[in-house]
Symmetry: C2
Subunit: 155 residues, 2 copies
């Protein structure tokens, strides 16, 4: 599959404009935590990414000056716990991370490519939930479309 570095330069050449960095820094501080380079860089990456990324893709994208594997996991965990990022599992049973939208979307429509495994967030809202068996309580809805993304279909 396409390296994320390539995706980034193709779709978002300026990842850390001052305003973006500042916004991210504030977002982190507001959670009452230290704004470390690791958190800032990772969150900037996620916000600039066109799709949910795996741990590995993030490592790639950080290039040189790579974070420790474990630190990256911990940063991602932290982001998820604080609600700044979302985590889901892909078909290859690996976690994928994406930045949480400012407003936040309780429900979600995704497209997952069966070929490259990437996950794309679609705009359209999923439909209302059907009725559940007795005793079940609903907290979230996920609407997943599967198939091939434009890139893999072309190749």
């Amino acid at each position: 599959m396409l390296k994320f570095a390539a995706m980034m330069t193709a779709t978002a050449p300026a990842v850390d404009t001052p305003s973006e960095t500042e916004s991210v820094l504030l977002q982190i501080r507001r959670k009452g935590a230290r704004a470390t380079p690791a958190r800032i860089r990772v969150l900037l990456l996620l916000r600039a990414a066109p799709a949910a990324l795996t741990h590995h893709e993030i490592e790639q994208a950080l290039g040189d000056r790579m974070l420790d594997r474990v630190t990256l996991y911990r940063v991602l965990d932290w982001l998820v716990v604080r609600g700044l990022a979302h985590r889901s599992t892909d078909a290859q049973r690996a976690f994928r991370f994406s930045a949480a939208a400012a407003g936040e979307h309780g429900a979600h429509t995704h497209f997952r490519c069966d070929d490259c495994g990437r996950v794309f967030c679609l705009d359209s809202a999923p439909p209302a939930a059907p009725s559940l068996p007795a005793g079940f309580s609903l907290s979230r809805i996920e609407f997943d479309l599967r198939g091939r993304c434009a890139e893999c279909a072309r190749g």
Copy 2:
């Protein structure tokens, strides 16, 4: 979480009535493969299960006379490839397996319990897909509801 052995006795005391066994045996033979005890036992289990099971839960349910770990993986793979079972990944990034319905459902509504991780197949059909970005092709739709199952909500 609830052990599958308990689930089974609670909900389906007679797992392998002659007719069920025969039906399963036929299903396997029709795929042009050998009807081995491993395949028969696993498929019977899946058909009797009220929810999608992990590899581990299936091992538990087989109790004594347990299959080799690898054999179980291979049996499950085989069932999936032949279309007799479905495979999905749960929130704990493990695979879950369920018997394919006789008629087969191309699209699917699931309920996943955030507590115990179990997956329940709901009857209601998911809604139609929204429009996709250019170049994307759709092969399957998954409608996932998250929350707590009746059992975990009660506990």
